[in-house]
């Protein structure tokens, strides 16, 4: 595989990551959302492996396998299990105004392109053009957390954000040092577990995972 092809595939995978990010922004069903997240993880892990191969950085293989096992198998499995356990499989979330969210998403892509343009100009890596996409993925993940009401979709937004960060690290500097990456992976895993525990608590307290319910925790609202 020469540099040319690798750069093309890299571009393609970046586009797919962006597409899945937009897909998650628009998807209402929790199940499909997890599928999209799984796909995003898969694209990310393939991308990391390819970048590792081309740049001859062998620790990226480990990151790739880590991503694969964590984001394609383990986390989706945990989320699945949660959904089955909490019996929220069929829940459809009311997402406010999808077209508007999409437009904001597009604006965020343009904005991140604007932000990363100086970095891209200085960089010589073959992956430099995907930095903008990576940053956009982070922002779209955050946007998703803002627009969603359901706790599970919020955690997916959070994980998507982390995907973006990981992607940014790969494209900007061929990945973080392995120690850092391992640490982050562990953090994410633990975060997922903690979220899982919280879900149970929220669910048992409010009988719902709608985070709007948490507004009731405010003192002045407590009138019952």
């Amino acid at each position: 595989m020469n540099i040319q092809t690798a750069s093309q595939i890299n571009g393609f995978l970046a586009a797919f990551v962006l597409l899945t990010a937009f897909g998650m922004l628009a998807q209402k069903r929790i199940y499909s959302l997890i599928h999209l997240f799984t796909w995003q993880g898969l694209f990310l892990s393939i991308n990391t492996a390819i970048v590792g191969y081309v740049a001859n950085k062998h620790h990226l293989y480990i990151s790739s396998i880590l991503t694969l096992s964590l984001k394609v198998f383990l986390l989706p499995y945990i989320l699945h299990a949660l959904i089955v356990r909490l019996n929220i499989r069929k829940e459809v979330e009311t997402v406010v105004n999808i077209p508007a969210t999409m437009l904001i998403g597009i604006a965020l892509v343009i904005f991140s392109y604007h932000l990363t343009a100086p970095v891209t100009e200085l960089s010589t890596l073959i992956t430099r053009s995907t930095i903008a996409v990576a940053l956009a993925t982070v922002m779209i993940g955050l946007l998703m957390m803002i627009t969603r009401r359901h706790a599970v979709t919020q955690i997916i937004g959070f994980l998507a954000m982390e995907n973006g960060l990981f992607f940014a690290a790969t494209s900007a500097t061929y990945g973080m040092p392995l120690v850092v990456e391992l640490g982050v992976a562990l953090d994410v895993l633990i975060a997922a577990f903690i979220f899982g525990i919280f879900f149970f608590h929220i669910h048992t307290t409010f009988d719902s995972l709608d985070v709007e319910q948490m507004a009731r925790l405010k003192e002045e609202d407590y009138t019952e």
Partner: protein, 682 residues
């Protein structure tokens, strides 16, 4: 040379003023008055067109200094190619509309004294011609005010109804706020070009030669753009337009929508490209953004209307937006020093200026014809007019096809050129702008598609189907004067659509003098038939062949099928076998736009209410349903109401000064004098 174009133009203005004055003398015989004075207007307009075409084609610039005006401040007239172009636009539509008016106003003579209409009509055209001829700030503003005042009285012509008076007042207010901004802008430029102590800076020549500091130039531009945008009806300064244009007599609406708005476009082009000359890219960005917003909002508001003339008025907002898109793009390209692209965008904008004048004039004349014979402006009552008014229907259809940007008519060519200008945006050095520009193109595409939907509605509901109202009036086709006016503008629409290269060669001098590049060498490189704005392999279009091709296929298919044609049997409407179809079951304007209203509803302030009459035997079979729909402009509450409220508050405060006692007023004067003396002595 014995006669110069500027002489003809001046003579044309004189002829109009004389006609206006003479009209008063003949008020006793209105029939004679309308015929003679509108013919005279037509002649004057034709003179203006002649001088305009001549100026642009020959690239001549004529000047004239009138001795009238204030002492030491003579009026300056100048006819350069830019003025010539707008003189042509104004003159051409005024020519068509004047012929039309001869029939339209004559039909009014029995009902109302028309002398006022004739006088202000002449003054109005003269005002517009003077605006484009003026070469100093003073004369420009006087002409501008004359135009505004004349059009105010024309809007007020049918002043029996309170809504007309309100619309006219709103128009007057916005026109004057705009005029103040323009006055201030000229003040800034005049002051900077020759100092504030002396008046020599008030000529456009002085402004042209001056170099303005960037900050002051920006202030001057923003003021001028605000003033002209108020006149042009750019969103959010558009609210007066759909009020004032529909209530004027239809021939005047045609002129107001068709060409009066164009004087504002003239002002913007004159001030930015000619008087200021050098500008940063964000000016163009501002013009482009407001153009895009106006285009999309204009067409969406138009879709919500069921008053034919209001609908057309909102389309003027849309088309002004499209023109501004071209001009804004041109400004952006100019500021990045890309003259060829700037020329393309500018020509696209100017082309649309002429095109819009033609088809909007045509459409308003058509709406006038419908109003004239049905006495109805509400589309919900109309239908089936194509059988009673075949000429008007066919001509109105030409206008609809042109404004919907469908090939091979003229609206398509200018939008196509604008698209081409958009597609050149990757040459811009700014990375983010490259990304944003195609979104603008998508918005323009949305505008075009929505306009087509809107005109399917306008034409379909007005002319097709059955009459929807309860009592069908006695409808007849309009007379030959009105038909001639419409036929001429329809033909112009077609010619501008299939011979665009002629137009582009003609306007070469404009782009060369304003942005420093010509288009014709590349645009007509494939011959007169093919329009190739940059290069043939990049993009090409031949309206002529599209027109001819469709016609040929049509003829061949028709001929083949009519060698041995099957019989045509007239029968009852099938409608899937449903019976008892009544004319009330047809789709009307409100129901036609319902899907689009639902999708874009969040942009409007919509109140929808369905009431079931209580005495129904069973809730599933109500005896009567009452449906109420009110759609309001959000800008009214967002901008205008707060401003109006604030004005009232301030005036109440100021009102406290009013004491009613003479002594109090004397104290005010006395205090003023004391303070002034004090200030002077310090």
């Amino acid at each position: 040379m014995i006669v110069a174009p500027v002489d003809i133009a001046a003579a044309s203005v004189m002829l109009l003023l004389i006609t206006g004055l003479a009209a008063v003398l003949f008020r006793k015989s209105p029939g004679f008055l309308t015929t003679v004075s509108f013919y005279s207007c037509a002649l004057a307009s034709l003179m203006a067109v002649t001088s305009g075409i001549w100026t642009v084609a020959g690239n001549v610039t004529g000047k004239m200094v009138l001795l009238s005006g204030l002492p030491d401040l003579p009026f300056h007239l100048r006819l350069d190619p830019l003025s010539g172009f707008f003189l042509t636009v104004v003159g051409l539509l005024c020519f068509f509309v004047s012929i039309y008016s001869a029939g339209y106003v004559k039909a009014m003579t029995g009902r109302k004294p028309v002398v006022k209409l004739v006088v202000f009509y002449c003054l109005f055209i003269a005002g517009m011609l003077m605006v484009v001829l003026a070469d100093d700030a003073l004369f420009f503003l006087i002409s501008w005010e004359a135009m505004a005042a004349a059009s105010y009285f024309l809007v007020m012509f049918e002043d029996e109804q309170i809504e007309n008076r309100r619309a006219a007042f709103l128009y007057l207010v916005v026109a004057h706020v705009g005029a103040i901004a323009i006055l201030l802008s000229f003040g800034v430029m005049a002051g900077l070009s020759a100092g504030f102590d002396d008046f020599s800076g008030f000529t456009f020549d002085a402004m042209r030669q001056a170099q303005f500091p960037a900050k002051w130039a920006t202030i001057a531009f923003l003021l001028a753009f605000f003033g002209f945008a108020a006149k042009a009806g750019v969103v959010p300064l558009h609210v007066w337009l759909p009020e004032a244009h529909p209530v004027a007599p239809s021939n005047v609406s045609a002129l107001m929508s068709g060409v009066m708005l164009k004087t504002a476009i003239y002002g913007i082009v004159r001030v930015t490209f000619d008087l200021i000359g050098v500008f940063p890219w964000w000016w163009g960005g501002l013009v482009l953004a407001l153009g895009l917003i106006s285009a999309v909002m204009g067409v969406l508001y138009a879709l919500m209307q069921h008053d034919l003339k209001r609908l057309l008025a909102y389309h003027s907002v849309e088309n002004i937006g499209i023109i501004l898109i071209g001009i804004g793009l041109s400004m952006i390209f100019t500021s990045f020093n890309l003259p060829v692209m700037a020329a393309l965008a500018l020509i696209a904008g100017l082309y649309h200026t002429l095109n819009h004048a033609m088809f909007k004039g045509l459409l308003f004349m058509g709406a006038g014809a419908v109003l004239h014979s049905t006495h109805e402006r509400n589309m919900e009552e109309m239908g089936g007019l194509i059988h009673k008014m075949p000429w008007t229907a066919a001509l109105f259809l030409v206008g609809c096809v042109s404004i919907s940007a469908l090939p091979p008519f003229n609206g398509f060519v200018s939008e196509w050129l604008t698209f081409q200008a958009f597609l050149l945006s990757p040459s811009l050095p700014n990375q983010v702008m490259k990304l944003i520009m195609p979104m603008g193109a998508a918005l323009l595409a949305l505008t075009g598609a929505l306009a087509a939907a809107c005109f399917v509605k306008a034409f379909g509901v007005t002319f097709l189907g059955h009459w929807r109202g309860r009592h069908q009036p006695n409808v007849h086709e309009v007379d030959w004067h009105m038909r001639t006016g419409m036929i001429l503008s329809a033909l112009t629409c077609l010619c501008l659509g299939i011979f665009p290269t002629v137009f582009i060669e003609w306007t070469d001098v404009l782009s060369e003098s304003l942005v420093g590049a010509k288009l014709s060498t590349s645009a007509t490189s494939g011959g007169w038939m093919w329009l190739t704005p940059i290069a043939p392999e990049r993009a090409s279009y031949s309206g002529f062949i599209v027109f001819l091709g469709v016609l040929i296929v049509y003829a061949v298919v028709y001929a083949v099928l009519h060698v041995n044609p099957g019989k045509i049997r007239r029968g009852a409407i099938w409608d899937c076998g449903f019976e008892k179809l009544t004319s009330r079951m047809q789709y009307n304007a409100t129901s036609f736009s319902m899907p689009i209203r639902r999708i874009f509803g969040f942009l409007f302030h919509i109140r929808e209410e369905t009431r079931v009459s209580p005495q129904a035997a069973h809730s599933a079979f109500p005896a009567r349903l009452i449906y109420n729909l009110r759609i309001k402009d959000r800008f009214w509450n967002w901008i205008y109401k707060p401003v109006a409220d604030a004005t009232f508050r301030v005036s109440r405060q100021v009102g406290r000064l009013q004491q009613g006692r003479i002594q109090a007023y004397l104290i005010y004067s006395f205090l003023t004098i004391i303070i002034l003396l004090l200030v002077k002595s310090l």
